[in-house]
Symmetry: C2
Subunit: 338 residues, 2 copies
């Protein structure tokens, strides 16, 4: 294919707005110097007016019609865009990545939370790093055994915007067990006394590269392991199994060395994330053994905490199923078996 | 949002080509009078030159850069477009719908086939309706108990194009047990003596509406049930669980009345299908009971038939996991339980 007229498409980094009050035309702009996780810069773009383009990988994008721009702002840490979509309700874009949509956020939030909390008996103290939207707090709130929930979120803009525009998600903040710490997550983790938490949930979520980077940061993971009690559990998002450079085997090996307990990869469907799938990494520290595939602390459907109803996605069967992997993923994780 | 500059985007029905030999510019055209499954016509479109737009639902599309147009043709039945994509290998578009991509076809083909064939003991005679690409034949070929495979495909163009451009998929035709019938599937099914097949696989695949329509056709399903032996099994694609108008409960009820055995909905991940998910409907006729959730006829990893290697996706664990449903799907299927 020739070069003229092709290779030009909207990218998702640094959205800009023209005619904001009138037509809500969104023009995606240049690359802002950031790199794709595969090391190649994103294409620069002419615009697809009125549409938001989520560029999964070069040569592919998911586009959403923006019915109405609801919020656009920039804090000292990141840019946040909220728009009303035709089909997915409100959509939140953080630094150019889809963070969540009202239509399918529950799948991610419920699985990230309950894959961890339903795998340990009687969890009492939980730390959430990131997750300023409040959806994970809403899910933790369903667990009556929990006595104390710390959330460490660096960006008050995120909290404020979600409280204003996504009340059914930010409702998690209404749980009186929640203690909000506006701080850098790494500094917070480093300050935590050894063995403080039963469960730590990492929701500093940027699809693809950055997750792998966080999970590749040995110092950070050492601090997380240190902050967990023996047999405590970390839950973190991980790359989609369809990621072209799916390298979860290295991450699992590293996590096994650091956490010294069970380490498992799981996955579920979230249609608005790239490839329609998100992965999860579950790790337990040395101590009472944890079998992530068999939840021992099932949710009580009568106890929803501050959530307005029972979980829409999670149940014990889908918990176990999330750890069943396609053969090509099993092979990627354990090449020696094949 | 105002009307000018928005509400215009590429649609997928009736692709047209301009400057075919030079720039391979694809311009999606108007709606061709077809309707979306929800009854509303698709938007008409200006083009996104050099890209193919798969419009999942109004207000949303998945776009793919077309590196090279490989084939475009029209038979008396349908239009077929094959292009080389940046990331998914060759992509086949049938009547404006993504039929498959080289990158992820195995997930659909393996699951549709083995969810059925691994659920019955010693299957000997199998009918495939549609599936002219040959991928399902390739998967059936792994089963050494099978003695006879009929495929009824109406369109020789599909077979010819796949044999030429997708040899690793069309390799299924090389199995000597395969008997090709170029006929209308419904007429073929109606001509089959009662109780002929152990397994029938329906691969007349068009995402969203049309599948539901096929599964809603009582006469057709009666003929399928008649063509199956007692305790025989039908496998067919079904709507994604994320479909806005997910109405699988009605389909299950209808299938239970017709087949009188087990009827189950399953799902798996196929990133290039709308919402990243495809559903499956599994039905068994009255006779020896079939428990779809517990495969009793596992694949032998040493026996791959004409396939070039072991399955990439299917295994017994992912088989059972495919029947574990998110809570909102369970509720949609059995509202009385909630």
């Amino acid at each position: 294919m020739g070069s003229s007229g092709v290779g030009q498409y909207p990218t998702k980094t640094q959205v800009q707005f023209e005619n904001f009050d009138d037509e809500n035309i969104v023009t995606s702009a240049a690359n802002n110097g950031k790199k794709e996780c595969n090391g190649t810069p994103k294409d620069t773009s002419p615009a697809l007016p009125g549409w938001y383009a989520d560029v999964s990988w070069p040569g592919e994008a998911h586009i959403y019609k923006m019915e109405k721009i609801i919020f656009q702002g920039k804090s000292e840490f990141q840019e946040l865009l909220v728009f009303e979509s035709s089909r997915h309700g409100k959509v939140a874009i953080l630094d150019g990545y889809i963070q969540l949509t009202e239509n399918d956020e529950f799948a991610y939030q419920e699985m990230l939370t309950h894959l961890a909390l339903c795998s340990v008996p009687n969890p009492k103290k939980v730390l959430l790093v990131g997750g300023g939207d409040g959806g994970i707090l809403r899910e933790i709130s369903r667990h009556s055994s929990v006595q104390h929930i710390d959330i460490c979120e660096i960006d008050t803009m995120v909290i404020d915007v979600y409280k204003k525009f996504f009340p059914d998600i930010a409702i998690g903040y209404e749980d009186p067990r929640v203690h909000v710490h506006i701080r850098d997550g790494i500094a917070f983790i480093n300050s935590v006394p050894k063995g403080t938490y039963d469960v730590i949930i990492l929701d500093a979520f940027q699809p693809m590269g950055p997750i792998a980077e966080v999970l590749a940061d040995k110092c950070f993971l050492d601090s997380v392991a240190n902050a967990l009690r023996p047999g405590g559990v970390l839950s973190a998002p991980a790359d989609s199994l369809w990621h072209k450079n799916f390298v979860v085997a290295d991450t699992i090996e590293k996590c096994k060395n650091i956490f010294k307990g069970s380490v498992n990869y799981a996955w579920t469907t979230v249609p608005t994330y790239a490839s329609g799938v998100i992965g999860f990494m579950l790790c337990s520290t040395k101590g009472p053994p944890v079998n992530f595939k068999c939840p021992i602390n099932p949710l009580n459907p009568e106890q929803n905490g501050v959530a307005k109803g029972p979980p829409k996605f999670y149940n014990s069967e889908i918990h176990s199923a999330a750890f069943c992997l396609p053969s090509f993923v099993e092979k990627a994780i354990d090449p020696k078996r094949y």
